[in-house]
Every structure is written in C-alpha cells, then in structure tokens.
Amino acid sequence: MNHSQGASINPAVNTTDEVIVSAKGLRVYYGDKEALKGIDFSITKLGVTALIGPSGCGKSTFLRTLNRMNDRIPGFRVTGNLIIEGENPYAKGVDLLELRRKVGMVFQKPNPFPKSIYENIAVGPRAHYGIRGSKLDQVVEEALNAAALWDEVKDDYKRKSGLSLSGGQQQRLCIARMLAVNPDIVLMDEPCSALDPISTGRIEELIVSLSQTKTVVIVTHNLQQAERVSSHTAFFMFGELVEAAPTEELFANPQRDATRDYVSGRFG
C-alpha cells in the first residue's frame, strides 16, 4: 500500500447528483457558544465526502448533528434547516431510533462492547429487525465480510471477545456492527486517528468499497487521507463552511485563501 500518493486506492468513485443531506442556514449552539454559524451544504448520494479543517472548526459538530449524537450534550441547540433523505431529523415526532438506523456512525476510538465478536454485531439487527437464529448468523457473517474481518475471525468469532482484537480489527468490528443494521449513510469521526498506517490503509480501502453502496461522510485531520478516499471535500473553519468542492479541485485549485493555506499545510 502506498500512503504518500493519492491515486493508489481512490478509483473514479461513482457519485450521483441526488442530494441525500441538505443543510441550509444550519446553526448549532452549545449554551451561548455558536459552534456552527449558518452552514449551507449539500451532500450527494454515494461516494465519500471528507470534512476537513483545524481543531474546533465545527466539522465534528456538523457530523454529529446529522445523527443527533449531540442531543446528549447539555446546552445543545440547533436552528436552521436540515433535511436527510427527505426528512428533518429535528422535526417533532421524528423516530430517533429509525434516524440512527438510517445514519450509522463509527467513532474516533474503536469502541466494541466487552462481548463476543458475534454479540457485538448481533445487538443492532436484533433490536431493529427482531431476527434470531440462523437468519441472525447469516447477517453477522455478511457484516463481518463487508467489513473485511471475516477471514481473520471466522474460526472463533462466537467465543472470542471483541476486545481481544487489535486496534485496527476492533475498528473494522465497529464498522461491521454498524453495517449490520444496514444504514444508508455512514458517518465516520476520524476513524483512523488511533490506528497504525497498515490498519489505516485497510480501513481506507474499506471506506472506498463501502462508498459504492452507501453515502460516507468522514471527518479527518489527515489531508492525504481526504485526498485518497474522498470524492468531495468540505473545508470548515471557525464554525463556518469556507469551501466545498470535488476533492481534486479543492486540493489543486482552492478558491479561498484560507483553504489554500490549509491544504498546503501552512496551518492546521
């Protein structure tokens, strides 16, 4: 695997023109602090959209607003317009569980449950689809395959604890766990920042292959990673969306000074 050059694993990702996430004037507050200052941004179906920007710029806040993971933070408020798959996730009467079934999430640090690999993955499909027995076995195997983990764990995945896996395997287990509920949109919050380069390469390959059938939105601090895996890139700074464009364009020909300074490594 070659990590220094962008072209190694990024094929011509098949994106569409169909908008799946659309934000208009989206503002987020934590208490008095305005974390997102009116974001206008659309994400098209399929492909990978990378969110980049310096720490505290709002990219993670934007990501976590999409599946309402910020709801648990005291003082969190959101205004403006957000539409995901035709629905406003903050509208009254929205089924939060259904939103999170449609919009899956992978976190910065692998967080498998202290249970067997099988149980880690079975939790979601059991809760959402009520399946049991051999049907559930099948879903677990498919999810492990989709996360490129099956070959490494197939002998003892029903007994072995998810915590006994290596960091990279744990992250793929978390991806399998998320895939097992079959989301349409996959949110990833710096999924490789705790991993070594080889594990990172495997996850990146996985991200690209997932993006053939799912819409992936990834927050990353690693500009090379954004270049390698994403079809579109959005640059955030101070809670604002500075610039969004197809990845090659944004890196080769940034329109704004701040974007140019950031992607050329002058700050960050």
């Binding site: 599946n67 993971m69 648990r72 939060l96 569980l97 259904e98 939103l99 999170r100 079934r101 899956g104 999430m105 976190f107 640090k109 967080n111 498998p112 449950f113 202290p114 939790v123 979601g124 809760a127 959402h128 978390c174 766990r177 998320m178 509920v181």
Partner: protein
C-alpha cells in the same frame, strides 16, 4: 556539548545521583517488605487463633441443633437460620428499590438542585450509624406501624439501612461506564432503556455487586438494629409456620453473641 560548561564534568554528578537513587530505592523496598510481612503476620495470627481455638467446637451438631442447657451447650442453628432469614428478606426489599434508584440517579434524574439535595441526603444516610437506624425502626416500624418486635420490622429497618449503600454504589458504577460505550449504543439506534440494560448495566455489574456485598455486611453484622427491632435471645416454641416465624421476633447471631458475652 560546550553550551553547558557550567555543569562541569557531569559524569561525576550523574554517578552521585545514581548512588543516591539506588540507596533510597533500597530503603523503600525494604520498608515496603517489612510492612507487608507485618500485615501477613497479623492475618495469620487472626485466622490461626480462630481455627485452633474454634475448630474443636464446630461440628455438624453445633451447626444444626438449637442451644441446650441454658445456652451453655447444644448448637446455634436457630441463630443461623434467623440471621439468614433477616438478610434474605432485607435484600428482597432493598435490592430492587436500590438498584432502580441508582439507575434513576445515574441516567434519568439530571442535575437539578433538588436532585443534588437528594443525592447529598443519600450520601449522609449511607454514613449514618446503625444505632440511629435501630431507633428509627423502633419508632416507625415497631411502634407506629405496630409490627411489634418482629422479623418483618427487622427486614424493613435493615432494608432502610442497606438502601443508601446500594443506591450510591449502583449510581457510581453506572457513571463509571465509559461514554464511548454509551455512544456506541445510541449510535446503533438503541433506546435509552436498551443502552441501560444491554450496555451500561452489564459493565457496571462488578461495581454493583461490590456495593451489595458491602451492604450485606452492614445489614447482617450490625447488632443494634437487629437487637432492637427483631431480636429475641431464645424462645420456647419449637415448630412454627412461615407466617408465624416472620411475625414474631427471631434469634440471630449478633444478639446471641452479645448476650452470650454477658
């Protein structure tokens, strides 16, 4: 190398430093070793004394028969039975309430001023001396509710005493579950209760069990509440139904030992 000439020949300083360090390290290890030996010696002395002096008296008859000849012979079965009965009933009452209370405080209560006050009160109740619970049980359960000195009054008194410990340890064990685990549950589309029962509670279980053990030690071992609300030194009835058993006072180990020492 030349920049720090004021340090002079620093190899000499390093040698001095190292000999100082190894001296203190040796002293430290020796001190820790001595203290450890002392603690082991005390434990061996305690266990040894109990076994050497107690073992000849303990046999199946001692554990399975009632006391005889004005408490100077026979066994201690009624006292064991009474103590087990008291603990069993106490936990039947205190466990569900205590664990649900802990879950409520940890996950549902939020952080209002009222909840802060409640939490403070529970904490001070957990540290309240058992004699206070004994007097409370006597006033409320024995006299006002007219339960008399009985196993039921003992259960309620001991449950009141065990509750705060169980509530607090459950709450703390739940709060110690990493946020990343909780978020993983929510991100999979679990309900609040599913996150609680499938993610948080299993991981908090060791801490909760520690709390239960602490509470049971307190409930079974504290003599005052048992003596005042449920205790009787001996009785003459031989066979009783369960209802009669719990409506009346019971023999118990703390009271038996206290009386026996007079």
């Amino acid at each position: 190398m030349d920049a720090l000439t004021s340090l002079g020949n620093h190899n000499e300083l390093l040698t001095k430093r190292d000999s100082k360090r190894s001296l203190w390290s040796g002293v430290g290890v020796a001190a820790i070793g001595l203290v450890t030996l002392f603690v082991i010696a005390i434990i061996l002395f305690l266990i040894g004394t109990i076994i050497l002096r107690g073992a000849p008296s303990v046999n199946l008859g001692f554990l399975s028969q009632p006391p005889l000849e004005n408490m100077t012979a026979g066994g201690i079965w009624p006292q064991i039975r009474g103590t087990l009965l008291l603990i069993g009933g106490t936990f039947l009452i205190a466990l569900p309430i205590g664990i649900l209370g802990g879950i409520f405080l940890a996950e549902y209560a939020g952080s209002s001023r009222l909840i802060g006050l409640v939490r403070g009160l529970i904490t001070s109740l957990a540290g309240t001396p058992s004699i206070i619970y004994a007097l409370f049980g006597l006033a409320v359960f024995v006299l006002i509710l007219k339960l008399n000195i009985s196993v039921i009054a003992g259960w309620l008194t001991l449950a009141t005493m065990a509750l705060p410990v169980i509530v607090l340890s459950t709450e703390q064990a739940l709060k110690a579950v990493p946020n990343s685990q909780i978020e993983a549950g929510y991100a999979l589309g679990m309900t609040r209760w599913q996150v609680m029962s499938k993610v948080a509670l299993p991981q908090a279980m060791p801490g909760i069990i520690t709390g239960i053990i602490l509470a049971s030690g307190r409930a079974a071992g504290e003599a005052p509440p048992i003596i005042i609300t449920a205790g009787i030194y001996f009785r003459t009835e031989k066979e009783m139904g369960f209802l009669e058993l719990i409506r009346g006072a019971t023999e118990s180990l703390p009271l038996h030992i206290t009386e026996g020492l007079r």
